[in-house]
Amino acid sequence: QHFRGRKNRCYKLAVRSVRRAFVKSTKARREKKRFLRALWITRIEAASLEHGLKYPAFISDLLKSQVELNRKMIADLAIYEPKTFKSLAALAQRRRQEGFLAALGDGKEPEGIFSRIVHHY
């Protein structure tokens, strides 16, 4: 706030508030990284929801298909390069479906197990 009141005129008060300002700026420099990462994550989440994907699914599928873009880049691409982001979302969706098919396996029942329905009366 540019040192409101007597903090911008009187030496003693100014010394204290300038010291606090320095300390706050050093701590903020470390917090800035966390804050920016959260911002990128919310942006990527919004963009991927527009394409019908959720953020955890999107990120996990991108990593599994060996695309190592970090969140800053994906957020910038989503803002300035919508077509590229759409292709990334399609890639993630395809990898997701392949993962589902791989998880299902053959579709047969395991051996030695029988299933029947129990009726409660």
Binding site: F22, Y80, Q97, A103, S115
Partner: protein, 155 residues
């Protein structure tokens, strides 16, 4: 076997397209993109480059500043490897994770080697008579990206 809640998986069943037809479609697309690159039908190219432990989205005639020292003199041309993504208006080439060196070429020149503005690092604890003040000056380098070129050697 009777149908229970666990017979079918909770996700909707999706069928993947035929692998043979898919391979044909992929080959067609790759040929089209190769032709486009060879005839030069792209406008401005952008690339995502991994440099100085950061990822940058760069185009031609771009300025980049990094917070470290490069062992190159001012005016040296540098070729950047580790390209993650290249794109134009109609197509993008996504690397897994990197693109080949015979596909993309990114040229840059070192313009400036300066120091950052003096940042103040201060620690202070109340009522304990403890304060430390340190002025940190980081060396910085400024690069200008000259060109990004792609060659039609897709397969």
């Amino acid at each position: 076997v009777a149908k229970t809640s666990l017979t079918s998986p909770p996700w909707p069943e999706v069928k993947l397209p035929d692998p043979v037809e898919e391979a044909k479609y992929h080959a067609e697309v790759v040929q089209k993109v190769n032709k486009m690159i060879a005839t030069g039908q792209y406008g401005r190219l952008f690339a995502v480059v991994h440099f100085a432990s950061k990822q940058w989205k760069i185009t031609s005639e771009d300025l980049i500043m990094m917070d470290n020292v490069l062992e190159a003199e001012c005016g040296d041309r540098i070729r950047m490897e580790k390209v993650l993504l290249v794109g134009a208006d109609d197509f993008t080439l996504i690397g897994r994770p990197l693109l080949g060196k015979d596909l993309v070429r990114v040229e840059a020149t070192v313009i400036e080697k300066t120091e950052s503005w003096p940042k103040i690092n201060m620690r202070f604890w109340k009522r304990h008579n403890y304060q430390r003040k340190k002025i940190i000056v980081n060396p910085q380098t400024v690069l200008r990206i000259n060109t990004i070129e792609i060659f039609p050697c897709l397969s």
